[in-house]
């Protein structure tokens, strides 16, 4: 047989025919020199091949076909379509016979037989190859997803920071095609906590890599809490912008929480607005700013909110609010706002949100995007026993008479002792004992307001008054638990009168002198002084000195 032209491609936009030449029978076989010929799917030759099975002598074919012209130019004399199940899977192309004679009908018959047997085989080979390509592609994607997941999970916080008086919770569930969600906690040495939540556009490894870069940049830009949130985001934006791949950007919220005051200062680079649950409902924490990496030189609005005891803030990613139910409805912001407003802490906030998300999306939901939730809650001021455990308190029959809070401002101890006096009235304590306790409580409250709370009105002092049959206890709690507790010294009045000592310094001495017991505890956040007087018997100041 003269020259053999082979054809292979299938299911490609253009079919490519390659020509292989075989030398004279006496010569050894030489390397084929394929001449590729592309056949467009809409070329009339394709329709012809499908309509007219069997070997075709191209010289006899009259078609306005670019492929036909190309095949002829490539020296193809006879073409044998390979058709399998109505599909053209290839063309067997042959050049002129070496003898220069026309192909005989026997030749054509042989070629047709060959084609009818080769076509299914070629089809099978093509399918196997296609499957191999798809398998490799799937494996590549799976591998990429594994890498993306690994990057994200390696960089997300392994542990939640612990802050007395606060609870933190976080939830991260990647979608199958891992997105670029991230969150981070930056505990600063002064006790404040940086909180980051962000979302990189795109998915997979590119998003994970940008997430990793953003996280590092933010950690550096935060400067141990010295930099304000707006400045941190502006700096991160300028650092990210030159290197971020085209059409990618990062939404990100960065806040710094002062656990002592409950102040959360934050700035937002286009991230979904956190929601704060507070007494009377929920509010969005708004601050404007462009996403990171879109354009350089951006500035970021900085806002502050105060989390009162019992308040919570939910940080989240769009995987929550943009989740769809089977009817195609979106979870949406109004639903989130309602949930936050109605939430009671009988169920943890994140659990509540996930329950609601599950019931909204229904069973069999295929998660569209990463879902990330970070919940921050300031615990309620229980004025709970701090130095006494609950069971100990109940064993001793302690009953709460009153619990209240007073802002830290000079003179407010008078309000405290007025309330104390009212609370003690039903006990019919001796007048002298009441006066002693009032003065001790006033002094302890002054100390708490001045030294514990530095007269910052948003750092109130908590008072709990309790009684059991034998004693009355007053707890005075401030937020100076991170400070050292000064020791009580007996003032030296001679030295004071000789002006060798400050005339001040009487408070702690008076307190210790006027009550039967004083217990001081500190837990890193709260500093609590408990003053106890016995209900029976006479207290003699000198005895406690």
């Amino acid at each position: 047989m003269a020259q053999l032209l082979d054809v292979i491609r299938q299911r490609m936009p253009r079919m490519r025919a390659q020509t292989a030449q075989i030398d004279k029978p006496t010569s050894r076989r030489v390397r084929p020199q394929p001449t590729p010929v592309d056949i467009a799917p809409d070329d009339p030759l394709v329709a012809y091949f499908l309509d007219t099975p069997g070997a075709v002598e191209l010289d006899r074919l009259k078609l306005d076909s670019p492929a036909l012209r190309e095949l002829k130019a490539a020296g193809v004399a006879i073409a044998v379509p390979l058709v399998s199940q109505g599909e053209l899977v290839g063309v067997l192309n042959l050049g002129p016979r070496m003898s220069q004679q026309d192909y005989s009908s026997d030749d054509r018959g042989l070629l047709n037989t060959l084609a009818s047997q080769a076509a299914p085989a070629v089809r099978v080979a093509q399918l196997v190859r296609q499957q191999q390509i798809e398998t490799r592609e799937r494996e590549r994607i799976e591998q990429e997803l594994r890498v993306a997941r690994l990057i994200q999970q390696t960089l997300l916080p392994k542990e939640l920071p612990e802050m007395p008086g606060w609870s933190l919770a976080a939830y991260y569930q990647p979608a199958r095609a891992v997105g670029g969600d991230f969150y981070d906690f930056l505990p600063f040495s002064d006790g404040r906590l940086g909180i980051v939540i962000g979302d990189v556009t795109d998915k997979g490894v590119p998003a994970a890599l940008v997430m990793a870069t953003t996280r590092s940049i933010l950690r550096t830009a935060a400067q141990e809490g010295q930099a304000a949130p707006g400045d941190v985001l502006a700096r991160a934006n300028d650092l990210l912008f030159p290197d971020i791949p085209p059409r990618m950007f990062v939404t990100c919220l960065y806040g710094i929480l002062n656990p002592h005051t409950g102040a959360l200062v934050y700035a937002n680079a286009g991230h979904d607005l956190p929601h704060q649950r507070q007494e009377g409902g929920a509010v969005e924490l708004r601050a404007t700013g462009m996403p990171l990496g879109l354009m350089p030189g951006m500035s970021y609005e900085e806002r502050e909110t105060i989390l009162a005891p019992g308040d919570s803030v939910l940080f989240y990613s769009d995987g929550l609010v943009e989740a769809h139910n089977p009817a195609g409805d979106m979870f949406g912001f109004p639903r989130l706002m309602t949930l936050m407003s109605d939430w009671t802490d009988s169920t943890p906030l994140i659990e509540r949100m996930l329950n609601e998300l599950a019931s909204f999306t229904g069973a069999g939901w295929e998660q569209e995007d990463d879902v990330t939730l970070v919940a921050l809650q300031r615990e309620k001021l229980a004025c709970a026993p701090v130095t006494l455990a609950d069971d100990e308190a109940s064993e001793d029959g302690w009953q709460s008479l009153t619990a209240f809070q007073t802002p830290s401002a000079p003179g407010n101890e008078r309000e405290v002792i007025a309330k104390l006096e009212s609370a003690l009235a039903p006990l019919n304590l001796p007048h002298k004992r009441v006066e002693q306790l009032k003065t001790a409580v006033a002094e302890a409250t002054m100390n708490a307001m001045e030294h514990g709370s530095h007269y910052e009105t948003d750092r109130p002092v908590d008072i709990l008054v309790r009684a059991n049959p034998a004693s009355v206890s007053v707890r005075i709690r401030d937020m100076g638990g991170d400070q050292e507790i000064p020791e009580a010294h007996t003032p030296d009045i001679e030295a004071k009168l000789a002006e060798l000592q400050t005339p001040r310094g009487w408070g702690l001495f008076l307190i210790k002198s006027l009550v039967d017991d004083m217990r001081v505890t500190s837990d890193g956040v709260y500093h609590t002084v408990e003053l106890i007087i016995n209900r029976e018997g006479e207290h003699h100041a000198s005895q406690s000195l």
Binding site: E435, I493, G507, L510, S513
Partner: protein, 122 residues
Amino acid sequence: MPARAFDAHVRQRQPRVAVIDLEGEINAFAEATLSAAYAEAEQHEPKAILLNFSQVDYINSTGIALIVTLLAKARKAHINLLTCGLSEHYVEIFNITRLADFMSVYPDEATALSAPAAEADA
């Protein structure tokens, strides 16, 4: 509860005894008024100054420090500082702080003025 204002008035009772009538709460807010009243009382070069606490319903540790300051001044100037009208509770406080060791405590003005301390040379 807003802090009750503090006021102080100086009266000349005996030839060399000045009475300072104190009224309200003796705390940090009282410092300027108390200091001015003492300066006024001191102008007459008294042998004794009587602090009348009968209209005082609250003294805190800062108030104690103010009284210590007055007492130090008085001792320097050889003036007897006397007190009257303290409630039972604040008498106890004056005992605890040992202020009572350095300034005589009388139940009322008349008793104080008739006491030898008001007559004696400082």
